[in-house]
Assembly symmetry: C2
Homo-oligomer: 207 residues x 2
């Protein structure tokens, strides 16, 4: 990739702005990382960038279902950056047990490279946010995870079973994801459980 | 589109949650609204959803270039919703003077329909945010507009002139957008001006 054009603004640290631009241009690649699930209309597979937008907006709309005191602005920030490592590590299908074993290592190498494009303290801060999302210990990270797990369920339910049918996913495998949703939001967990019961009646699960 | 599955969670207002789900599923369509500009690697046109994600993240990374006191969380919120009306109204190319004349009317009709999917007070709040973005009177809306105008310039500069060359855009037309960027951020305005001078030397503009 060619470098951004030189900057002549007074009062601006050019080296710093150039580093930030390099990161912004690099993360454009997230638009080319395809996920397994389809758009809600079934027309094509979803990419990570548009997925991240949809989750951030969903978190805002569903803010009232987060535990009291959850900082939704922080949830949005977590969701905006949560998939950036997939530029290098690729999307790992949540029901692919083999790929999931090497996922953490591949994603850490990716985080090392991509966040280092930014000025040091800024890169460290965004990387910490990503680690917070991964660890799922804070209410913000748990709610972000809940929204992230609910979203493909909605898409699958609206596309005649979607990836559940395509990859022969069992109800038990999906119920494990419902548990993650319930950890982040009681209301969304209940909704997801009802959705999965309905999907089961429709015969979308294997086994 | 089929309706979301029924909900059985206790303590949740089912009608309210169903309205929110309908909105969330509806805005999935933003992933199919194509803009004129290409991705940074030139591989295809960008869609509104991934564009909104990129802007929200860019606003975070460039937060220090917003005027002191600007609420970046609010900027992010404005950027997440700023293009939703294009689901009905379509993308209006910023250099298409004819389409720009009817744009406001088309977008208001779209906002009336789409935000009305949400529970009333929530829909009214998001619509007000969109109006705030459009009016460009607050520092948050001006900074959001600055990021929105800068982003396609970066893509064009990195794709040998991109839509500037494709649609025969003049330097004077682009300088009008640089003015909007400068209104939201002095530093980003200076950077954009330098970028356009460089693009001019490379012969990317018509006339």
């Amino acid at each position: 990739m060619t470098e951004p054009a030189p900057v002549y603004a007074s009062g601006v640290d050019h080296e710093r702005l150039t580093a930030q631009l390099r990161f912004i241009l690099e993360v454009d690649k997230l638009k080319r990382i395809l996920r397994r699930n389809l758009l809600v209309d079934g027309s094509r597979r979803e990419n990570d960038a548009e997925h991240s937008w949809h989750l951030a907006l969903t978190a805002r709309v569903f803010a009232e279902y987060a535990p009291a005191g959850t900082d939704i602005d922080r949830v949005v920030e977590l969701l905006l950056i949560h998939d950036i490592v997939e530029i290098d590590a690729g999307d790992t299908f949540v029901y692919d047990a083999h790929a999931s074993r090497s996922q953490r290592e591949r994603e850490c190498v990716a985080a090392d490279r991509i966040y280092a494009l930014l000025p040091e303290e800024q890169g460290a801060r965004l990387r910490e946010l990503w680690e917070e999302f991964e660890a799922a210990k804070t209410p913000e990270a748990r709610f972000a995870k809940a929204v992230d797990r609910l979203s493909p369920m909605l898409a699958n339910w609206h596309t005649d079973g979607g990836t559940w049918v395509q990859y022969g996913v069992s109800k038990e495998q999906v119920m494990e994801k419902v548990r993650i949703i319930a950890e982040g939001s009681e209301a969304l967990g209940s909704y997801a459980a009802a959705l999965i019961e309905d999907a089961d009646r429709r015969g979308y699960f294997a086994g």
